[in-house]
Amino acid sequence: MAPYGEISRNGLWNNNPALVQLLGLCPLLAVTGTVVNAIGLGLATIGVLTCSNLAVSLVRRQMPDTVRLPASVMIIATFVTCAELLMKAFTYELYLVLGIFIPLIVTNCAILGRADAFASKNPVLPSLVDGFMMGLGFTAVLIVIGAVREILGQGTLFADMDLLLGPVAKDWAIPVLGGDYPGFLVAVLPPGAFLVAGLLIAAKNAIDAGIERRRSQQVKIVPGSKRVRVTGKIS
């Protein structure tokens, strides 16, 4: 029984690709201007990461060590092409918005990193879970950054969700900061992405430090009473 709980915790928090490994920063910074972009790219990344981990894990015994990386890249590229064609077919407007960043998922180090560090050394099912959880962790960070940048930059949340979900989501845009919000352009521009990502990393470290502090302050309660031994052999 593989430690699925630990794999999940690693992907979502302890070893989060975006906040801890700092991998895949290019899409993280480039397409997180709005929530819908973040979700769109996040879903594509989850799909590619899960499938590539699965495939790499399946062929891990057949793959010679010397061509490990090129082979992994080929597998990833295949799934990225699939994701690109799927987005072209079902969410064409979003595909146009995300543009070059969908094919660029191939170069997302988080994906190659998981393929090489985990999937090529582990059985199929743990690799699948690892890919999914890493993708989910990455997507969660994308969405949080997208939300912060969208609120600060445009004053809305969930604008243009119909690009992803169809006409149902046409009216989902919430004008969080009122209709006449002037728009804080720096949040939409690349510096805003760096700032928000940096602040998120700081927040994660602060939370971890807080948890650590609380854990170290807790007094260990030993069940039952113990007598203090005053004579005899002291071990």
Partner: protein, 352 residues
């Protein structure tokens, strides 16, 4: 705890950070007076809003970092940052511009990097650039000098414009700045342009109001030089480079001229930048040779962006770009220490 220094007759100037900062603040008075005289009380409101925000941010961050609040507020560095940003902002802009700009300057540019003495970028200029790229429309609307727009906004109008009540529009008061006029001109000779534009023909060399404010900052800068708070290297290098570049591309005043040296020296933020911004001891170069290079770089970049960039003035961008370069400049301009042969590079020392 007072550290006693017993041996060697160390010279003591008695200058503390707060004294230096207060003198810098005092040196801005002539320039600020000129700005108020020509552009009205909007300048003072900006400075006040910036100061309140800066002190609040400084206190809040110090509280978060468990540092003594009073001690750090007393060095007046937050006040000087706020003062410089307040001067740079367009008068009568909406109240949230100074607040957002100062908060970015203090929190993002200063304290996230470790606070006083650790910031690689000039906080006031970071605040200004954040605003300029975020709100380009609001940030490039300068009111005209009072005599040209038939009186500066009255007190009521001023507060209406700044705090957004009443039905005032700043558009009624704004005029193109001299730098914008010359930059956008492509059809007439500069001499004709100077006759056509009231801002230019009422002034002596570089635009009515603007030249006086720049002269005020020049006087303040000379005071700082006299008090030995700054050295001459960076300002002289910046002004000389700017003058040289504008002389090269002056084009004898044709319609495509980028403006005369006097226009570039005495308009926009030139003098404020030369004496108050690039002389910042924290984010600038450290050695005198380094300051020469740093100042020349700022002058060069300022001219390039003014002449061929998309923004009307460029001191803030030029300063930030050179702030990036300052550590490298310092590395290559390490002064020769007494008893050693040639000047070394700091990186050589670390490798040993």
């Amino acid at each position: 705890m007072a550290l006693m220094r017993a041996s060697s007759p160390h010279a003591r100037s008695g200058d503390s950070t707060s004294k230096v900062m207060l003198q810098v603040a005092a040196a801005t008075i002539p320039g600020v007076l000129a700005l108020v005289l020509y552009f009205g009380i909007g300048v003072l409101v900006n400075i006040a809003l910036c100061t309140v925000t800066a002190v609040a941010c400084e206190a809040a961050v110090m509280k978060l970092r468990n540092r003594p609040i009073g001690f750090y507020l007393k060095d007046y560095s937050a006040f000087v940052t706020a003062l410089l940003l307040g001067i740079a902002l367009p008068p009568y802009c909406a109240w949230w511009l100074p607040v957002v700009g100062t908060a970015s300057a203090m929190v993002l540019a200063k304290h996230l990097y470790g606070g006083m003495g650790y910031n690689p970028f000039n906080p006031a200029m970071v605040g200004y650039v954040v605003l300029l790229i975020s709100f380009p429309v609001d940030m490039t609307r300068w009111v005209g000098p009072a005599e040209i727009i038939a009186g500066a906004p009255s007190l009521g109008e001023a507060f209406g414009l700044i705090f957004g009540f009443g039905n005032y529009s700043v558009d009624g008061f704004t005029r193109a700045t001299p730098l914008e006029i010359v930059r956008l001109n492509e059809s007439v000779l500069l001499s004709q342009l100077y006759e056509m534009e009231p801002v230019l023909n009422k002034g002596a060399v570089a635009g009515f109001g603007w030249e006086t404010a720049n002269f005020g900052f020049l006087v303040g800068g000379l005071f700082l030089l006299f008090r030995r708070i700054i050295t001459w290297h960076a300002p002289v290098a910046m002004l000389a480079t700017l003058a040289l570049m504008s002389l090269l591309f002056y084009d004898s005043g044709s319609s495509l001229s980028e403006g005369s040296p006097t226009l570039h020296l005495f308009s926009g933020a030139t003098m404020l930048g030369a004496f108050f911004i690039i002389t910042d001891p924290i984010s600038g170069a450290t050695s005198n040779r380094g300051r020469l290079i740093f100042g020349a770089g700022v002058g060069l970049l300022t001219y390039i962006i003014r002449a061929w960039g998309t923004y009307p003035d460029a001191v803030a961008f030029a300063v930030l770009l050179m702030n990036f370069a300052a550590p490298t400049i310092d590395n290559y301009t390490l002064p020769r220490t007494y008893g050693h042969k040639a000047a070394r590079r700091a990186t050589d020392l670390e490798e040993r």
